[in-house]
């Protein structure tokens, strides 16, 4: 069985990919936030794939999606809108690659946007089954594994963080409002063009 796994350049997502590798063949998807970040982030992701022996990586140009959301959406909702958008795009990639699962490194209370309410509303964005192996891990446990599998040192290499995070992200979101905002942002168009412009790297 196959799965797509979201891979940022941080500490958590390589660990969640690693944990599920025992059970599934994994294709990684990275959402590239350039120009809101700089190019070293993608370099880190490539190193992480090599370290985890992942054979295929999709790099989605996500910066312009973020910029679109900034132009049309309520700022406190942008984190959840961005996350749902990543899920929707990943679902399309999963269909293409015949993958049955979507793996994420989300864990509760990690950042303001990763609350149960928000995660539930993210689930509603897609039909694909979402696996969150780190859901109840605390950061120390995750770091311990990251060190064991040698991804930690790559993850902590210096790279720019997300510059799109609003000052006060919503921790509780309303699904009706989310759907309205997605319509305003013309999200289907963003999904199509993101999938079309994805860059694929194979090892």
């Amino acid at each position: 069985m196959k799965a797509v796994s979201l891979l940022s350049s941080g500490i958590d997502s390589p660990v969640s990919s690693y944990l599920m590798q025992k059970h599934l063949d994994i294709i990684a998807i990275h959402f590239n936030n350039e120009p809101l970040t700089s190019k070293e982030v993608v370099e880190k992701v490539k190193k992480l794939c090599e370290k985890l022996k992942i054979k295929k990586l999709y790099i989605i140009p996500h910066g312009k999606n973020q910029i679109s959301l900034m132009k049309s959406c309520n700022h406190s909702y942008r984190c959840i809108l961005c996350r749902r958008l990543m899920f929707k795009i990943s679902e399309k990639i999963a269909e293409k690659e015949k993958c049955s699962f979507l793996i994420t490194g989300e864990s509760l209370g990690q950042v303001a946007s990763q609350t149960l309410s928000n995660l539930t509303n993210c689930d509603k964005a897609v039909k694909i089954k979402i696996l969150r192996p780190l859901l109840s891990y605390d950061k120390e446990e995750t770091i311990k594994i990251a060190k064991e599998i040698d991804t930690y040192n790559i993850s902590i290499e210096s790279s720019m963080c997300c510059n799109a995070v609003p000052k006060y992200p919503k921790t509780k979101s309303r699904i009706n409002f989310i759907k309205q905002e997605e319509e305003n942002a013309n999200i289907d168009k963003l999904i199509t063009s993101s999938v079309k412009n994805a860059k694929i790297i194979k090892w």
Binding site: L36, I67, M70, C161, N163, P166, K167
Partner: protein, 313 residues
């Protein structure tokens, strides 16, 4: 009779100096050496310092000896100076100079013998275009003096972009540079008070290789240009990937995007290009420098952008 060697050299008006008072802020190496020279020259003094004498001071701080360790610097200095010259008046303040008590420096001339930038900026702000003062500093084998007179370039014009300086305890200080810089500053103090052609350049001397530099200072700061300064902080982000600056005000993104080449424009942030460097401009006052690592350049660009934004608001 006492000052015959000075008055024969400098003329009758030398006696004017005995009616003048000079404030010395900081009684460390430069402060004690300068106080010694000025007391001998017959000039009244105000001494300000809240420190006590420490064994590591004795290598260069001339008014103290081993018996003075742990005694307050100002009173110790005063008793030594009064033994040298009992005719002068010496007022002491065993206090740290702050915004609240700054008026204790009021006198004919102030000499900065402090060891930190905060106090110097404080003195500069208080004295600006009102009182003459002399900035002195020494570190390692180098020393600096600069006369700051009303309506002339100020301390800010030189140091506005500098946020920290080296400390003697970390990098050391040679005692001979102290004597030299103290002599230059005390000479300038007399010249300023006697209104003789005092130095207008910044003087920097390295006593290790005897390299003397005279540096022209131009009025360049907002204080001198009578503009309200946009104060911002600069820092390296947690992962050390990028520098950012932050100011406590909202930015006018429209105004900024008109002035600079703009790659991305949204209601809350811009990405602009300045000298080929990409900068993310957040409307809440933060600038992220994606690739620039030179703090001087960052300071300069940030100042420009912040100024641009305030003109319109």
């Amino acid at each position: 009779m006492r000052y015959q060697r000075h008055s024969v050299l400098l003329g009758k008006e030398y006696s004017l100096l005995h009616k003048k008072t000079i404030t010395i802020v900081g009684l460390g190496a430069l402060g004690t050496n300068i106080a010694n020279l000025l007391a001998r020259a017959g000039i009244n003094l105000i001494l300000i310092d809240n420190d006590k004498v420490d064994i590591t001071n004795l290598q260069r701080q001339s008014l103290y000896n081993e018996k003075d360790i742990k005694k307050p610097k100002v009173t110790t200095a005063k008793s030594h100076l009064n033994k040298i010259n009992s005719e002068i008046k010496i007022k002491t303040y065993n206090q740290l100079l702050t915004k609240k008590n700054i008026s204790i420096i009021n006198s004919d001339l102030i000499i900065d013998c402090t060891d930190n930038l905060e106090t110097r900026f404080l003195i500069n702000e208080y004295c600006h275009n009102k009182f003459p003062w002399i900035h002195t500093a020494a570190i390692k084998t180098m020393g600096v003096t600069f006369n700051i007179l009303p309506n002339k370039p100020c301390f800010n014009c030189i140091y506005k972009n500098i946020s920290s300086i080296e400390k003697c305890e970390d990098v050391g200080i040679l005692n001979t540079i102290i004597a030299l810089i103290s002599s230059i500053a005390a000479t300038q103090a007399m010249k300023i008070l006697l209104n003789k052609d005092y130095e207008t350049d910044l003087i920097r001397f390295n006593i290790w290789n005897n390299k003397l530099e005279k540096i022209k200072v131009k009025k360049s700061c907002n204080l001198c240009k009578n503009k309200k300064e946009n104060k911002f902080i600069i820092k390296l982000c947690k992962t050390k990937a990028a520098y950012s600056t932050k100011i406590n005000k909202k930015l006018n993104l429209n105004q900024i995007s008109k002035k600079y080449k703009t790659i991305v424009k949204t209601p809350i942030l811009l990405i602009i290009k300045v000298n080929n460097h990409e900068i993310i401009v957040h409307n809440y006052g933060e600038l992220i420098f994606k690739d620039l690592k030179d703090e001087d350049k960052i300071n300069k660009i940030a100042k420009e952008i912040y100024n641009e934004s305030s003109i319109s608001s």
